[in-house]
Symmetry: C2
Subunit: 232 residues, 2 copies
């Protein structure tokens, strides 16, 4: 029986934008594991109450449920050891630094570029929660957050320098082929791509963009085929 993944959705059922859920979807595809994704909105707390907490991704595998994208990746490597998401204890350890780097140095910058657009596309019932939680996280009004998009795109360009330099030397963060560290970073760029009709990597010669393209094409174009907003 296919696993089930509670996957954050916008007003449209097929608008899937969560960076954390995208990590898990790429991880499942990496291992050639089938999954049925269930659209879930921020305020549908009762639908995932069985997981003992109130955030997605939540993966249901038969009788077992696992939440938190990092814990899901560990669960998948333990339960389905083929094609590891981390091929060693050290790689898994170092993966935590990649996660912390993305979540503290990259995601806040991307958030400032896209959150106003994303706000327009989430379900009406989620809007009050989203506005309040994001304004609290960033310490300012949503509109102020995204006031200077060109400057924020330049800030993202700077934030990605360590990744860019790495990709000048090797095709993936994990070396010759991607692992979960790649999906952690990719999830954030897929979040941007599915949240606002703006190219956050405007330089066509950027090695980060070429790497994103390779990941978009993987697994029969799983991420490339995702619904994304078009410029008005």
């Amino acid at each position: 029986m296919a696993m089930k993944l509670y996957d954050l959705a916008g007003a449209k059922d097929d608008h899937r934008f969560s960076p954390y859920c995208w990590r898990v979807r790429m991880a499942l595809a990496h291992k050639s594991l089938e999954v049925e994704t269930l659209p879930w909105r921020f305020t549908e707390k009762e639908a995932i109450a069985f997981s003992g907490q109130d955030k997605v991704p939540v993966l249901v595998d038969g009788e077992k449920s696992v939440h938190d994208s990092w814990d899901i990746a560990e669960y998948l490597d333990e339960t389905y050891p083929q094609k590891p998401l981390f091929d060693s204890a050290q790689a898994r350890g170092q993966g935590m630094l990649v996660k912390q780097w993305v979540e503290t140095q990259v995601n806040p910058v991307i958030g400032r570029i896209i959150l106003v657009d994303l706000f327009g596309m989430i379900h009406d019932k989620d809007k009050a929660y989203f506005k309040e939680s994001r304004e609290k996280r960033f310490g300012m009004a949503l509109e102020a957050l995204c006031a200077d998009r060109p400057a924020q795109i330049e800030a993202l360009d700077r934030a990605l320098v360590p990744l860019r330099n790495t990709l000048k030397i090797q095709p993936y963060i994990a070396g010759a082929a991607p692992n979960y560290a790649d999906y952690i970073v990719f999830g954030s760029l897929q979040w941007a791509r599915t949240s606002a009709p703006v190219e956050v990597l405007p330089d066509e010669d950027d090695p980060v963009r070429a790497w994103r393209d390779r990941l978009l094409d993987m697994y029969d174009g799983l991420a490339r085929d995702a619904w994304m907003p078009e410029a008005a």
Copy 2:
């Protein structure tokens, strides 16, 4: 026969401050490999001309010489596979992102804190080279570089957030025990420690400081016993 390492030195032979050389010294100790370090100054290009380039670290292992700290780590894992510096291909791949993160997001901040002090301790014959190369790299006069040390120490505190968050979860970057990724980052903090009589991690409760302490104590206190300047 013990290996030899050309190791950057200040005016005093036993003042060893290069972050790249410290990476290699920790890597050699990690593998319990003996090494004789040879003090070398920036302008002693002819002494290492045999390596085909003009920078240290240069490791000489019998007939073989290897330069560049990353290449030395790879050489050591290939030649002396015991206690790997990276225990898998993915860990090595991800190590490159750690290296790029340190060199672009951390080292420039530490440089601004310490370079004026370090300038006072390098060999007289190196001073013209050092001043010119560092002023070119940072785009300003050495004195201007280090004008506001408290602000730079706060900037370092922010730059280290991904590492700090990681070390709240696990004792080393590589997980339960250190690997070369830890030594890459540690080398930069040892560079700070051996270059200026200033505590760049002033918060005694900082998990980064506890991690640094653990690494200072390793290998019979190899790094802790290094010569360091005292406050005047």
